[in-house]
């Protein structure tokens, strides 16, 4: 497809800027690619500033600064200011490691509007086990500092097989911290996390026990803490539209400037990513082969083409289809109509004896 065939393609709503792959933590569930980008190849302040301006013109509303650990970038305040000046809403996802009150004051002054702090577990020992470093105490100490600032604050609870049975205590801890928002997210099995999938993936029974706990908490916290939860679609019968549909709502830029339709797109063989160093964001959004690859329905299997749900799920997640079946055009195996749906059944019930693998 060329841009002429695509005259009214709506622009993306959010831009995920992976500022760096450098990070002081070594999480079991890290979704960063296993081959990380070198610090010396990272985009410069000027590159990012140009990208933010182009993004705003393309219709992007939210900018999510992430990593690795964004705090590793010495120019973080400048990047935040550049995002705000371009007219974007600026959110940052951090491990909190390396944050001080003075540093936070600089970031808020630069225009940071929302900060997300993720917790690996509620107990020091197991949290550090998961994050592979001593970060839990650092995060807890950061919370009272965060509250001194005019800043939206989200606690992100990352749940998985090893902590899902203690979800109630987990939520209580988060409640004591008093964030504006609480997000309960399941580990996504990309990048490093895929290596630890057997260890991290909850059982179906665990997920079913967790759902009413989440609902009860949502009711109880109403008006005080806004709760959002994303449960794994491994347990559904039908897939979700991945990232709102391939090339439909979001764009991710990695530390060296490659533009991707989602954070795990690189697992799909044969996709090449255009770089913001060479191209304008508008051109990339409309014409880059990687963004065009799964737009529309021409790539879909006959089963999906004939299915009324295709408008809603757009055929499901391409990366998941590839990782589980080896074919990126296959029906997402989460779907009952997939010939590979049985694979999911096996994954859901198995209780393998495995040792965790931390990234170095």
């Amino acid at each position: 497809m060329t841009s002429e065939a695509n005259p009214i393609l709506p622009g993306p709503l959010s831009l995920i800027a992976e500022l760096t792959h450098r990070c002081p933590l070594h999480c079991l569930y890290c979704s960063n690619p296993i081959e990380m980008q070198r610090a010396s190849d990272e985009l410069s302040t000027e590159d990012w500033t140009r990208v933010f301006q182009q993004a705003a013109k393309l219709g992007v509303l939210h900018l999510h600064l992430t990593g690795g650990e964004p705090l590793v970038r010495k120019d973080l305040p400048e990047l935040i200011r550049a995002g705000r000046e371009a007219g974007l809403y600026v959110n940052m996802i951090t491990s909190g490691v390396g944050m001080t009150e003075q540093c936070l004051a600089t970031l808020v002054d630069a225009g940071l509007e929302h900060l997300q702090l993720s917790f690996q577990d509620l107990e020091e020992e197991s949290a550090n086990h998961i994050a592979g470093t001593r970060s839990h105490a650092i995060k807890l100490a950061l919370v009272p500092i965060l509250k001194k600032f005019h800043l939206a604050f989200t606690v992100n609870l990352v749940v998985h097989r090893m902590n899902l049975d203690r979800l109630e205590d987990f939520i209580a801890l988060a409640e004591d911290l008093g964030p504006d928002r609480l997000e309960i997210a399941h580990v996504q099995y990309y990048g490093w996390a895929l290596k630890n999938r057997a260890l991290l993936m909850p059982t179906e029974e665990q997920v079913h026990r967790a759902l009413p706990i989440v609902e009860a908490a949502r009711e109880r916290l109403k008006g005080r803490i806004h709760l959002e939860s994303v449960f794994p679609d491994y347990f559904g019968s039908f897939p979700k539209a991945c990232v709102g549909g391939w090339g439909r709502q979001m764009m991710l830029i990695d530390p060296v400037g490659q533009a991707m339709p989602c954070h795990s797109a690189a697992v799909i063989p044969g996709l090449t990513f255009d770089n913001v160093r060479q191209h304008d964001l508008r051109w990339i959004w409309r014409d880059s082969a990687a963004f065009q690859r799964f737009r529309g329905d021409s790539w879909m299997s006959d089963t999906c083409l004939a299915c009324p749900r295709k408008e809603r799920d757009l055929g499901g997640c391409r990366c998941q289809a590839f990782m589980l079946t080896g074919d990126a055009e296959a029906i997402d195996p989460v779907c009952t109509y997939s010939p590979h749906h049985g694979l999911l059944q096996t994954l859901r019930t198995s209780t393998p004896e495995v040792l965790p693998i931390w990234r170095g």
Binding site: H62, A152, D180
Partner: protein, 97 residues
């Protein structure tokens, strides 16, 4: 939220400078009808009554009670959603006691 409450935006929540949306952490809320006009008057100073009076200026014939209730309803829903907060300013009675 009551007519005497003073609503203010929660941290990380603001009106888009031009579009009919509220920007909130992680997303946007579409605004319909007069919502944007109402929210433009939320400044942490005015009470719900004052916001309504301001909006109703120049429309003396309209059913003001109904509109007041609609405004309160919208603001209360946004409070539930975590987008607005209220500060109850002390009344003259509180100050006396």
């Amino acid at each position: 939220m009551e007519m005497s409450s003073t609503p203010t935006f929660a941290p990380g929540c603001r009106l888009h400078p031009t579009q009919e949306v509220m920007l909130v952490p992680e997303g946007t809320l579409k605004l319909t009808g007069p919502s944007r006009d109402i929210l433009l008057r939320v400044d942490g100073q005015r009470t719900v009554t004052e916001i309504a009076d301001d909006l109703l200026q120049g429309y003396p014939e309209t059913n003001t009670d109904e509109i007041r209730n609609d405004i309160l309803d919208l603001l209360a829903r946004l409070e539930q959603r975590g987008v607005l907060r209220t500060t109850q300013l002390p009344t003259p009675n509180d100050l006396r006691s």
